[in-house]
Symmetry: C2
Subunit: 497 residues, 2 copies
């Protein structure tokens, strides 16, 4: 009775009582939405929890774990000063931990943390800072399109206590244990602090009209703060759970930026060949150069990613074998890319390739690659036009991130003509140990030769960047093709190191 | 015509000709067996390729890639001097890469390499060396029982060129590129070389009568060597592909080592409780101690793994939340353990837990754990008696490996009695935000109370080792239970660091 009489309690008690009342209702709704999301598994939800140190990121995190079912909720927290993540590109840990559809991740120390910290400590000038924000916006669009919903919170204290306030104590203040999540320990000087505040404002401004704006949450009052976060999350979870894939839109059957200029495949001189002696000498020479380059000290801080695409029976397997044997098996992996697994299907298409990004000093070889999105998935209709037309840009962003991290990305298209393919198909049918290489599907693909040719032209035109060009390889002669591939890799490595 | 006339060719040509003839037949049979294995996916095959440097490990590796279909074949090569793997227990990379059923892995630099190298360079005395071999034998039995077939090759040169021969050149000898896989670069002195040869002999001897003996392959003649490896592999692939699970054997319904002594659960005083003030003070105190310990410098080279098991509704979730909030989220992950995914089901049951082993300096918290094997899987019949009865020893080996690597393994059983469980089930039914915690399955489990109690008694008796004891927690009072858990962890951490 007494508790219900507001006049008999002070303001704090009243507030706490109201909080419990609101929180009880909110919590139930959150759980319902969480279960609906898990049940339908159509989108993932990724919550980014950023803001001032001392604004209560740790407390909000604990509150979310109190309110939600922990079985489909994961905390993903990062320390960018941690050495070991730097053996891979900066985005790698975020991709590794990306929740699958139906699940929720709460991220502390996301990519925005890196962007802001670099800006505040002088690691990024105005131009780089804005380029990073632009890139982040593109990646968010991609995640959104690939069914990851982002929910971005910026916890804010009043100006005097704002972002970058120096908090040095890790000990629990008061009698109750009170964890502190410190994001900005590296911010040391007043100048850096100012720069951080300004950069944070700019960042928030720059995404204000995007589909995933920042939610600025006043953090002075912890209970109001938690309710605010909870309500936003409820909206997001409900929207994500009820999301429906749109009917296959009438998207263009051609990529947005049409291929300009003439097709390049017909210009290749497929008749080029190589005699056996030259082949053996030149192959061994290129292998030795590749071995030496990848064992060099300079390579330890780099990495090599080689993607092989090509017509069926163009000789990818045999070429990869020659390349493989030129590399130290300790620092190399070959990834044959087939249909995605269930785990992979529950995440954006680039996820599995991010997962496989090698450590520095290592080489990853792809027998078919992320380009499947704009080749087989386009031609066979596994990807909707809206999906594959945006994939060119997504792939360029992916490779640009690798390149910026010092990775060497090299892409080969192994080209044969229709007559040579027919000859090889027939040969495979006849040779017992090659029979496994020829299936009905190969014959079906062959019937779609012009469609694949068009897809290849678009791919080469739209994803040949200066840093990551396509190397087109005339492959009617296996000897010529193998030597061209290995030599071009050797040249590239020597050039880069 | 000329080629078929042996008298017209020299011995080398004749040998090469015979090789091609044999290899063609072998290759076809290997591919057939490989496809049958992939098709049936009932076992994985793991080939260990060890032996003298210069005996041709790299060449054999290349040969296998030439003969087999690369799509279900992976090379797994390790460099034990590599710093980054040392941030986890030594066996971690092998577990991480363990091929799933239906697939083949070729491993270079396996655990035997580590064992031999430590022995040769003085890192392991006679006793430790033999203890490691014994442990390796137990792990092999486990892998075999869990449907991983091992095939162990030791490539041997004549005595003068044997194991540990110093080969310093990485450059390709002769005109053809010839890769060298060097396992023993660290072997420097004559003494170490001698010790290595002796250790290798002992190792091979010690596993001679096991189910997976070493195959010693004479490597002087590369062609004969490759054929020998290929033939052994063919036998192994065929056996693996045709393997049938045995009918549920009449294995004991009780673990092999019967529990001795009286049951421990009835001895717990579940009436213990704690008043609210003491609870808040003591909880905060334990949380602060855990925070301090896990943030200490000494912890950076250690790691903490906490497993929570307990009766349904015993309060695991709430306890984990209190523990979670005492840890830096950057260095902590909570793993709720449910039914295994398809990926996990295709590998030994310990695989997913090995996968999740935290980096040094980090904490992993398990909401249910690998003990599911001897609890729910035993009681519900998901594991055959032969499987769960051997699991006690397998789990002890798993935890011993973690402990040896400096990991702190702490296991809690949260115990409530039947009346308290009923009360909590009823409460859950009534409380909107707790409804999700109670399902029909919980009621079904409750009906099997005596079976679970027996399983817990066996588990505690058979897996309480000195280094990794079970802590039984009287949990009828949530306050008492939480404080006991956190305090006992704080004590353990302060004790260990």
């Amino acid at each position: 009775m007494k508790n219900e009489d507001a006049s008999g309690t002070d303001a704090g008690q009243l507030q706490a009582w109201r909080f419990v009342k609101e929180a009880t209702v909110l919590r139930e709704a959150l759980l319902d939405a969480q279960f609906e999301l898990a049940d339908r598994s159509n989108r993932a939800v990724l919550i980014l929890l950023n803001g001032a140190d001392g604004a209560g990121k740790g407390q909000v995190l604990n509150r979310l774990h109190e309110w939600l079912d922990p079985r489909t909720l994961a905390t993903l927290a990062y320390d960018i000063t941690d050495r070991r993540d730097q053996r891979r590109p900066p985005a790698w840990p975020f991709w590794r931990d990306l929740p699958q559809r139906g699940r929720i991740g709460v991220m502390i120390g996301s990519w925005y943390h890196t962007i802001l910290l670099h800006r505040a400590t002088g690691g990024a000038d105005e131009e780089i800072f804005h380029a990073r924000i632009e890139e982040a916006n593109r990646i968010e669009s991609m995640l959104d399109a690939e069914r990851v919903t982002l929910l971005k919170f910026w916890l804010q204290l009043s100006d005097s206590k704002n972002v970058g306030t120096k908090i040095r104590t890790g000990a629990p203040p008061g009698s109750r244990y009170n964890p502190l999540v410190r994001e900005w320990v590296e911010i040391d000087t007043k100048k850096e602090r100012k720069r951080l505040v300004r950069a944070a404002r700019e960042l928030i401004l720059h995404t204000a009209d995007s589909s995933t704006p920042w939610h600025i949450v006043e953090a002075e009052d912890p209970l109001a703060r938690d309710l605010e976060v909870g309500r936003r999350l409820l909206d997001t979870l409900q929207a994500a759970a009820r999301w429906q894939p749109q009917g296959r839109s009438k998207a263009p059957a051609r990529p947005r930026r049409a291929t300009s200029g003439k097709p390049v495949l017909p210009t290749l001189d497929l008749s080029q060949t190589l005699d056996k002696d030259s082949y053996e000498t030149e192959l061994a020479d290129a292998q030795a150069r590749i071995f030496t380059a990848t064992q060099s000290k300079a390579f330890r801080n780099r990495a090599l990613i080689v993607a092989f695409e090509g017509n069926d029976a163009a000789g990818k397997g045999g070429t990869i074998r020659r390349l493989r044997s030129a590399l130290n098996p300790v620092h190399m992996r070959v990834h044959p890319i087939g249909a995605p697994s269930d785990e992979e299907r529950a995440r954006p298409f680039l996820w599995r390739f991010w997962h496989q990004v090698p450590l520095r000093g290592n080489t990853a070889i792809y027998d078919r690659s992320w380009y499947g999105r704009v080749l087989v998935e386009r031609v066979e209709g596994f990807a909707a036009p809206a999906e594959w037309t945006r994939a060119y840009g997504e792939i360029n962003d992916f490779e640009a991130q690798l390149t910026r991290a010092g990775y060497i990305v090299h892409k080969f298209w192994l080209a044969i003509d229709e007559e040579e393919q027919l000859r090889r198909f027939e040969e495979r049918k006849e040779t017992p140990h090659k029979r496994f290489k020829i299936t009905d599907e190969d014959w079906r693909n062959r019937a779609k030769w012009p469609l694949y040719a068009a897809a290849v032209e678009d791919m080469v035109a739209l994803t040949s960047t200066e840093a990551e060009p396509w190397t087109l390889v005339e492959s009617n002669s296996k000897r010529f093709s193998r030597v061209k591939v290995l030599r071009s890799l050797a040249d590239r490595l020597e050039d880069e190191l």
